[in-house]
């Protein structure tokens, strides 16, 4: 998870003459920031186990009632299923399209390459709300509102840049001579890529896939506009927050945090991690 613990400047990293007072001050300041960052998570966990009928803190006792209320509500379950379906679809589609684009951008030198680069990165820069409303207009024309694969297409737009970023970085450091060598030994280019290149960048592709999954699973704004009556989990949560704040949503939050933690752990085990720090 933490890279760069060593490095050319490693032994100089600690500033030997920086005063003790400064270090203590830095540690205290950062501790306050860390508490601020973790505060929402610390709050959500106890509330989800609250025995109270309403939202109170600290909870008067322990109970599973909000988890039961989640499991017994078909609307929540339906939303969860929709979200999982959309996220899996997005993962497959975005990983394929993103990997293709990464190959194209890293290996290519065709005219207009710079524009393709911009097109692929644009979904990160263009505000979500604009993409969401534009898609809403498009989907409404083709009667795609409320279809899970419509939401999936929308999420794929948004996930492609992340896949290209991760896979592209791996491709750039991959020594293309290995591919040339395989071809020199008689393999076709396709076979060389399949047997030599892809296995070596597989950890990055796996990480990119996990990233695409999380991106889709957490996405709200596109789903808000295009998922119609088949709400995804974030949309259902959004509506619940607006209309009725009850601790069911805390239980859902905890489950969502655990799921994402699981995905991040899997990604660091089987991929190169989904650490945004490179």
């Amino acid at each position: 998870m933490v890279s760069g613990a060593s490095g050319p400047t490693g032994k100089h990293r600690r500033r030997p003459r920086a005063g003790r007072g400064f270090r203590r001050l830095l540690a205290i300041y950062c501790a306050v920031v860390f508490v601020f960052l973790m505060a929402p998570l610390f709050i959500v966990f106890p509330i989800s186990f609250s025995a109270a009928r309403y939202l109170t803190f600290p909870p008067p006792g322990f109970s599973w009632q909000w988890y039961e209320s989640y499991l017994n509500d078909p609307a929540w379950i339906q939303a969860t299923i929709t979200s999982v379906k959309v996220a899996f679809g997005t993962t497959v589609l975005a990983t394929i399209l993103g990997t293709l684009a990464a190959f194209s951008l890293v290996r290519g030198s065709y005219p207009g390459r710079a524009w393709v680069d911009r097109l692929v990165a644009a979904p990160i820069i263009v505000p979500n709300i604009i993409i969401a409303v534009a898609l809403y207009g498009l989907f409404a024309r083709f009667k795609l509102i409320g279809e899970w694969y419509g939401v999936m297409l929308g999420h794929t737009i948004y996930a492609i840049p992340f896949v290209v970023l991760v896979v592209g970085a791996a491709l750039r450091t991959f020594d293309a001579n290995q591919e040339q060598a395989a071809m020199g030994l008689g393999a076709s280019r396709l076979k060389a890529v399949w047997k030599v290149t892809l296995p070596q960048i597989r950890p990055s592709i796996v990480s990119a896939a996990f990233l695409a999954f999380i991106t889709s699973f957490d996405e709200l704004i596109i789903a808000l506009f295009t998922s119609g009556v088949n709400a995804t989990l974030p949309k259902k949560m959004f509506e619940n927050i607006i209309f009725e704040i009850d601790p069911t949503i805390a239980a859902v939050s905890v489950l969502q945090i655990l799921l994402v933690a699981l995905v991040v752990t899997l990604a660091s085990r089987f991929g190169v991690g989904v650490n945004p720090i490179r």
Partner: protein
């Protein structure tokens, strides 16, 4: 070009005969996908008024008092969020760079765990903490620090708090990335030449981190300008940002032309900020 296998010039899916065209073909599915589902619909949406043969909505969006106020609000909030992200995030990035391994791990956990938690979950938690009968009010009441609950939600500071919480990691990551690569010999040299610590920081260390600060700040600013969830939920309609206004014009007033014009303004502002950052960092190949 193809000294390796001239005999198979025209063969192969990847077009060995045209080494420059092959990769273009490879990228074609993605290009078509993004053009059809993203670029064209977005441009079409923003040009809706033009399609109707009028520029009036753009003029209205840029001159109407109410809209100027919202645009100004948006910029103001984005600026505050960026400054706060710097003030809170910079020391954390430094801490992550210099802390001993164990504390660094704790630090990373505290930054990454919330980062991977859904924005919605975090916004909900803030509502629970800051609500009228929320955690904070109840605690302060119990401690007799206040005698009646404070109204914290639906205000500008709350929106800022929620947004900084979401966006701070986007500032920390690039700054940390740059700090990692700084050659501490430069700092040692400045010290060796007798500079006091604050001066070493201001004249040597900080300027070296500037590329990271700039790209982190730009990222935070851009993302703030288009923010929707936090102002919609924590602002409770009282703190209006341009993204919230766009949503209202689509869903409430069904005025797509004006929503398109507002989107054009928002995107233009975003691109200008992004372009300025690119320009400021020109020549710096790492970014």
């Amino acid at each position: 070009m193809n000294a390796v296998a001239p005999a198979r010039r025209r063969g192969g899916l990847f077009g060995r005969g045209h080494p420059h065209r092959g990769p273009l073909l490879l990228g074609l599915p993605t290009i078509v996908f993004l053009l059809v589902l993203f670029a064209v619909p977005v441009v079409q949406f923003m040009l809706l008024p033009v399609a109707e043969g009028t520029f009036e909505p753009y003029v209205k969006a840029l001159t109407g008092r109410l809209y100027l106020q919202v645009i100004w609000n948006t910029f103001e909030i984005a600026a505050y969020v960026t400054i706060l992200a710097f003030l809170l995030g910079y020391p954390v990035a430094y801490f992550l760079t210099v802390a001993p391994p164990f504390w660094r791990l704790i630090g990373f956990f505290c930054v990454l765990m919330p980062f991977w938690t859904s924005i919605l979950v975090r916004t909900y938690a803030w509502m629970v903490i800051l609500g009228r009968r929320g955690v904070l009010n109840e605690a302060l009441l119990a401690l007799d620090i206040i005698d009646k609950p404070m109204v914290l939600l639906h205000s500008m500071p709350t929106v800022l708090l929620g947004m900084v919480h979401v966006l701070m990691p986007f500032f920390i990551f690039p700054v940390y990335g740059v700090m990692q690569r700084i050659d501490m010999n430069l700092v040692a040299a400045a010290r060796g030449l007798g500079a006091p610590d604050w001066r070493v920081f201001l004249r040597v260390y900080f300027p070296l981190t500037l590329p990271g600060v700039l790209s982190g700040a730009t990222l935070v600013f851009i993302l703030s300008m288009g923010f929707f969830i936090t102002p919609a939920l924590l602002g409770g309609g009282r703190v209006t940002m341009i993204a919230v206004l766009i949503e209202q014009y689509v869903n409430k007033f069904l005025n797509w032309e004006f929503a398109g014009a507002l989107s054009a303004v928002l995107l233009a502002a975003t691109l200008i900020v992004y372009g300025l950052m690119k320009w400021a960092l020109r020549g710096d190949k790492r970014w």
